[in-house]
């Protein structure tokens, strides 16, 4: 049993997940709105590309990103890790938002346009407040998924303490050096936090459905 528990991998994980979630939210809002409203023929192509990270092995994604990063000097840095995570977690932000927007009453959006409101005001004041459950789900799942990522992080970030050694990588290394007791504590913390986060989402969404 170690005397003091090193919490930096957790802090790093949450920093990475926080940065990724904020960046993805900014990118995904216009993208998912476009996907939900467009009748263009390129829609299925865009949907397929944004969903790729769900089906691709993380090693494939990591391999491509690593090759690109090697040229621009981003491999094994925290910023590189954030960029890689944005690719990896993109579908988890886009899909709930898109289905939320698609589920909105079209007449309600048209009523807003007829009231003289433009697209942006309609999105901010009408669309987003009415897809709160989808919005919260998208944010939390993206955050949780980034905290839980392993393959891409290991390939792109390596395991540099205080820079790229996040919790999932730290646990992997502890198991490799057979420090099972620390691995147990780290893993239990991950299970506990993940459970609480998901529980929070489901309780919130359950309450919201009653009102909307």
């Amino acid at each position: 049993m170690p005397q003091t528990l090193d919490l930096t991998p957790f802090i790093l994980s949450f920093k990475l997940a926080g940065a990724t979630t904020i960046i993805l939210l900014i990118i995904s809002l216009p993208l998912s709105w476009y996907l939900s409203q467009t009748k263009s023929k390129i829609k299925p192509y865009l949907e397929a590309v944004t969903s790729l990270p769900i089906v691709l092995p993380p090693s494939v994604l990591g391999f491509y990103i690593l090759i690109i990063f090697a040229k621009v000097d981003l491999a094994f840095t925290f910023i590189g890790l954030v960029i890689a995570s944005c690719f990896y977690s993109l579908p988890f932000m886009v899909q709930p938002l898109q289905s939320g927007f698609e589920g909105l009453n079209k007449n309600m959006l048209e009523a807003s346009y007829i009231s003289g409101k433009g697209k942006i005001e309609t999105i901010v004041k009408v669309a987003l407040p009415n897809i709160k459950p989808s919005l919260i789900t998208a944010i939390i799942i993206t955050f949780a998924h980034t905290v839980g990522e392993f393959g891409v992080v290991l390939m792109v970030g390596g395991s540099i303490p205080n820079e790229t050694k996040v919790a999932s990588v730290a646990i992997y290394e502890l198991v490799e050096i057979m420090d099972y007791s620390t691995a147990h504590i780290y893993s239990a913390i991950m299970v506990g936090i993940s459970f609480l986060v998901l529980l929070g989402v489901y309780i919130f969404n359950h309450k919201q459905r009653k009102y909307l």
Partner: protein, 283 residues
């Protein structure tokens, strides 16, 4: 004067259809748009609102909303539009729904008073009944003080008592705000009560256009009393034939001759009329 001369090819359930409308509407008129579903009524409203594209011209007084050069965005047309499903903003209270259109608290107060909704100003739409929701939607549509008010079957989801109440409020607001109103409706009594002119569409064309009296009173010749209905069954009792006809929500029995019984087919649309006696109306 409102001049509409538009054309659009629709891809409906029964194949391609040309919607060709040429209409001149006096300002302040109350027009009822009637016709079977799929005849293009809703599409016409949506084209007037700028929610759908079409070829041709739309001119409101001196303003041009649509010609071959431009199509004015729905945001700039300053119309009121009432949807059958109310389309209120669920995240905003009754009052906020109205203020969203225009920050005019005086007007909100007045509209809510006219429609007897003042007590519900702070409530969220989902806690209201259908009739209350549609009244909120009506108030919201008036917030722009629209020159043109468009209604797509606004009352078809409501019960008869609530319909009558709302019909009166619609008429009141139509007069008070001096709007030109176009309403899609299937209900002859509603059309008769509200509209000054009825335009009937069939397969994208105007097939009838006149006052409610001219269009709706379906008596011909010396008939004084006439109903359209569906023939449900012909029953033979000894030598007498009885036809069961559905007229609206009512079923009626009509005695017919053997000759008539042979020529009528069950499922046909029939007309029940009489001129030989004076029908009585009682409560």
């Amino acid at each position: 004067m409102i001049k509409v001369d538009i054309n659009k090819t629709l891809h409906g359930a029964s194949g391609e259809m040309d919607l060709t409308i040429n209409l001149q509407i006096k300002e302040g008129d109350f027009i009822a748009l009637a016709g079977q579903s799929g005849s293009g009524k809703t599409t016409l409203l949506r084209i007037l609102a700028g929610l759908e594209e079409a070829k041709g011209t739309i001119q409101i007084g001196n303003d041009i909303w649509l010609d071959n050069k431009k199509s004015l965005a729905p945001q700039k047309r300053k119309i009121g539009f009432i949807f059958q499903d109310y389309a209120l903003f669920p995240n905003m209270s009754v009052e906020e729904n109205l203020l969203f259109v225009k920050k005019d608290k005086q007007l909100v107060k007045r509209l809510l008073e006219i429609t007897e909704l003042s007590q519900l100003a702070k409530r969220l739409p989902n806690s209201l009944s259908g009739g209350q929701k549609q009244r909120v939607s009506l108030c919201r549509a008036m917030m722009n003080r629209p020159k043109l008010l468009l209604m797509d079957e606004p009352l078809s989801a409501l019960d008869p008592a609530m319909r009558t109440k709302l019909q009166n409020e619609i008429l009141l607001l139509h007069k008070e705000f001096g709007t030109t109103t176009i309403m899609v409706s299937h209900d002859p009594s509603e059309i008769y009560r509200l509209a000054s002119r009825v335009v009937v569409l069939e397969l994208g064309q105007i097939v009838n256009d006149g006052t409610p009296k001219e269009v709706l009173l379906q008596t011909s010749g010396s008939q004084k009393f006439s109903f359209e209905g569906e023939l449900l069954e012909i029953i033979q009792i000894d030598v007498i034939f009885v036809a069961i006809v559905a007229i609206g929500q009512q079923l009626v029995e009509v005695v017919i001759s053997e000759y008539e019984a042979k020529n009528l087919k069950v499922g046909e649309s029939v007309r029940v009329s009489t001129k030989a006696f004076a029908p009585t109306i009682s409560q």
